[in-house]
Symmetry: C2
Subunit: 104 residues, 2 copies
DNA sequence: GATGTGTATGCCTTGACAGGCATATACTGA
DNA sequence: TCAGTATATGCCTGTCAAGGCATACACATC
């Protein structure tokens, strides 16, 4: 996973953009209006999202149509994997170990 | 999910602390030594992690033993859920829709 | 080419925050 | 009570990034 996947997702505006792009592809202005954010702000955040692989865009006349991509989310899913041992129902070594020291 | 789960995870030192705590409970000094980070830095980051629910601690004489917790990771897992539609094998409405507009 | 529309970029200000260092606080044992 | 150990906190500084505004750039239509 790219080192800064979390930084990218830590920005609320970017998460709102991703939420929206999950519903449908959108142009910059569509996003700006839907989210009530200035167009430059949207463009800047889309640039961040693009460079981190969260979105790609195609050109349609003067408009740029942005689309969400799976890969960074998959990477996040992968990153999460080892931590799932914390709540997966089957008792593995880690869980047994920690439960022996239970304090909370 | 707490609004700032991603902000918490966006800090590399904090992720390293969580990595380590996933292996075993640790005191502050143990973490500081293992990660080669100053003790105040560790304490500060642990405070952030504590307030976000990633860790709890118990007192053992003068030492504070920190332990990782599942809940915020589960919240992250939940947040991820809608985005799994992007790569899940079965073709749902979203995927069909986006694929009709395929460009990449 | 001139004008309009859509988007990107540059500059600026402001705020958040990470870490260094010093110090306060908490607990222990002599 | 004193010294030692473990941890937390306060102050300071530097860095970085978000968004406002103006403007540059790209494309279309006439």
């Amino acid at each position: 996973m790219s080192v800064d996947t979390f930084s990218v997702l830590s920005e609320p505006t970017r998460r709102r953009i991703l939420d929206r792009l999950l519903e449908a592809e959108s142009s910059v202005n569509e996003l700006a209006k839907a989210l009530d954010v200035s167009q430059p702000t949207v463009s800047k955040q889309l640039k961040v999202l693009r460079e981190a692989g969260f979105v790609t865009c195609r050109t349609e006349a003067q408009r740029r149509i942005y689309r969400i991509h799976a890969r960074p989310f998959q990477a996040l899913d992968d990153w999460l994997q080892p931590y799932r041992a914390l709540w997966d129902r089957h008792l593995d070594a880690l869980e047994r170990h920690l439960d022996n020291l239970e304090e909370s």
